[in-house]
């Protein structure tokens, strides 16, 4: 299905917002302003946006520890996200979740997850709700190449298959589970692994927004139509380390520079829409400026936001106790 200009602009806006957000978090973390563990999504923007453009608020996603991109692609408020990552009042999760647990149920974003493989069982539940209440919704489990080897993921693929749940499993294979190469850690072919559970799937170039969008559109349509779970294997790369502070000595020297120069999903997108005449460079430049200003403002607001107070420590544990 052809995307119209408005949709293309929205896709670029989201991808650029994610890139700006992550580059900014990288700078702020390096400068010491952000506490804790942070895992950045830069380089993978086409995956989150290509998939989530096929979803609405009634559809759920479960993310990974590398969750900022999924949040933005699912429509979460960027300023509230930044406050959350800074651990401030007014954060998306009131400063109690942080980068690894950032979530917004009202947007169908069931959370980043600090546990590798934590999300797929939860997303089976979201899919069961959609099926039971006949909402027409689907549920997407994003897993990394590390999470793809967790028992929770494999059990969830089996459960989704036997219960015919509306789940789309999206493997974001960015080449490394922490420091370990996915080419070594994944036994067999992911698409064949999914097929072993009776789940059809395909491998897609995760740098290519249009390829991801189209594959996701087909998979999600099929699943939404009640044909059971689907699978996508997105081959992609991350620009930063597993976590911020990772010296990435396991990568070849110059590996990321080459990826940025040759396989940048934003540059690939620009080239394609400009060459085909669908969008003009000036329109995209305007989005670049707009998103940079948005992220700058988000950081200023996050730094100015108050710290949570001592009373906040004790709330939100139970609905009642």
């Amino acid at each position: 299905m052809e995307l119209n200009r408005e949709q293309l602009l929205a896709a670029y806006h989201q991808m650029r917002t994610i890139r700006e957000f992550e580059e900014c978090v990288h700078r702020e973390f390096t400068g010491g302003a952000i506490p804790g563990f942070v895992h950045l999504y830069a380089g993978e923007e086409a995956c989150a946006v290509g998939v989530c453009m096929n979803l609405s608020d009634k559809d759920y996603i479960a993310s990974t520890h590398r969750g900022h991109g999924h949040c933005i692609a699912k429509g979460c408020d960027v300023k509230a996200m930044m406050k959350e990552i800074f651990g401030r009042k007014g954060g998306l999760c009131a400063g109690k979740g942080g980068s690894m647990h950032i979530a917004d149920m009202s947007k169908g974003m069931m959370g980043a997850n600090g546990i590798v493989g934590g999300g797929p069982p939860l997303i089976c539940g979201a899919a069961l709700t959609a099926k039971t209440l006949k909402t027409g919704g689907v549920a997407v489990a994003f897993v990394g190449d590390g999470g793809f080897n967790q028992g929770t993921t494999l059990e969830s693929m089996n459960l989704a298959s036997v219960w015919k749940l509306p789940v789309i499993f999206v493997l974001e294979d960015n080449g490394y589970a922490e420091s370990t190469a996915s080419s070594w850690s994944i036994g067999g072919e992911p698409v064949k692994r999914a097929a072993g559970f009776g789940i059809p799937g395909e491998q897609v170039d995760g740098h290519d927004f249009f390829a991801v969008y189209e594959a996701a559109r087909k998979a999600i349509s099929r699943t939404r139509a009640g044909e059971g779970p689907s699978f996508l294997h997105l081959k992609v790369n991350r620009y930063f380390g597993h976590f911020e502070g990772d010296a990435t000595t396991y990568r070849r020297p110059g590996e990321v520079d080459k990826l940025r120069a040759e396989r940048d999903c934003l540059a690939l997108f620009r080239r394609q829409v400009e060459q085909s005449g669908l969008l003009k460079a000036q329109q995209l430049d305007a989005i670049d400026r707009e998103t940079a200003a948005l992220i700058d403002a988000a950081v200023v607001e996050a730094k100015a936001a108050p710290q949570p107070s001592a009373e906040d420590l004790l709330t939100d544990v139970y609905a009642s106790y």
Binding site: Y60, A62, G91, L92, C93, A94, G95, K96, G97, H101, A103, D104, M105, S106, M110, G111, N113, G114, I115, G118, P120, P121, L122, I123, C124, G125, A126, L128, T129, A130, T132, L133, G151, T152, E155, S156, N158, L159, V162, W163, T315, D316, V317, Y318, A319, S320, Y321
Partner: protein, 334 residues
């Protein structure tokens, strides 16, 4: 009102809540039984028949047999709860928490807090616990204190059919994740239970008898033994209060402390292991809050710190029973 077994009481609560609220669903291994098989459907109704008859009434869409895949279906119950259903997942034996603990510990218990209060997780995880079935080390443990240790979970340990029905009703209506721990040796226990639905509030202990000399706090199946001992000792001039906390999280600390302030003596009876169990927790809580009232050291009646043995000869001395409780009460009276 009629005589009902512990099994029937739980079944009725599940049935009534499923009738009342279409969002209540059941899932677990063999909760109906026979899924995909050529023979009888609703073949098991749960491994010990607690959910028998529910699938024929509510259908396979609301009574879901699962593969043997606890991480997936317990997690799915949590995810379904967070998105609008009120699932009751059957984690057959509490010992199986080991294969799905992440979904309970790191997901169910914490979603609400991590999301700044913007998630509600009304899931019930039913599970059997307890020794006495000759089921050995991996099917007999009393692990409920492990759950009580985790903020975000509520943990229920009913002591009788009446308690089980009311507490299960509350568990399903409750908006927090609840671990509902059923002692497997109690399913055939009978007592008068109302036919109509009723809920028993969490965090409110039941004082089954009031006495002047000793406070006995007992949990689950141990409550029956504590009452038997109290009956016997009453005739011998030792008067006991027996407190059943009903829920070990939240724990009704006030009722226990107030009672110890009156009696000055405490015996805690718990089928869990002694280290970091409910007995040690309650003993520590009383030491902090009612130390000056104590006339004797607190006595804990628990199994030894061992796995549950298989041999009947060993299991019978492993599980606390009336004789150990009586000895403890006599000891604090000396």
């Amino acid at each position: 009102m009629s005589k009902k077994s512990f099994r029937q009481a739980i079944n009725e609560a599940l049935r009534d809540e499923m009738r009342r609220d279409p969002r209540v669903i059941l899932m677990g291994e063999d909760v109906a039984g026979g899924m995909g098989a050529a023979g009888e459907q609703d073949a098991w109704g749960g491994p010990l028949g607690v959910t028998k008859g529910l699938m024929p009434e509510f259908g396979r869409e609301r009574v879901l047999d699962t593969p043997i895949s606890e991480s997936a279906f317990v997690g799915a119950a949590v995810g379904a709860a967070a998105t609008g259903l009120r699932p009751v997942a059957d984690l057959m034996f509490i010992d199986f928490m080991g294969v799905c603990f992440d979904q309970i510990l790191n997901q169910a218990a914490k979603l609400r807090y991590m999301f700044g209060g913007k998630a509600t997780v009304p899931v019930v995880i039913r599970t059997m616990f307890g020794a006495g079935f000759r089921a050995a080390s991996q099917h007999s443990q009393g692990l409920y204190p492990v759950f009580a240790h985790i903020p975000g979970l509520k943990v229920v340990v009913p002591s009788s059919p009446y308690e089980a029905k009311g507490l299960m009703t509350q568990a399903i209506r409750d908006d927090d994740p609840v671990i509902f721990c059923e002692h497997k040796a109690m399913y055939d226990d009978q007592e008068e239970v109302p036919d109509e639905p009723y809920a028993i509030a969490f965090g409110e202990a039941n004082v089954s008898r009031e006495g002047e000399d000793v406070t006995i706090v007992a949990i689950g199946r141990m409550v029956k033994f504590a009452n038997e001992v109290a009956d016997k000792l009453e005739k011998q001039g030792i008067s006991c209060t027996v407190i059943d906390p009903r829920t070990v999280s939240p724990l009704d600390q006030d009722t226990i402390i107030e009672s110890v302030e009156e009696t000055g003596r405490l015996v805690v009876v718990d089928e869990a292991s002694p280290r970091c169990g409910m007995a040690s927790d309650i003993a520590a809580m009383v030491a902090q809050n009612a130390f000056k009232a104590l006339k004797a050291p607190v006595k804990m009646v628990t199994p030894p710190h061992t796995p549950v043995p298989f041999s009947p000869a060993l299991e019978d001395i492993y599980v606390p029973g009336p004789s150990q409780i009586e000895a403890a009460v006599r000891a604090v009276m000396e």
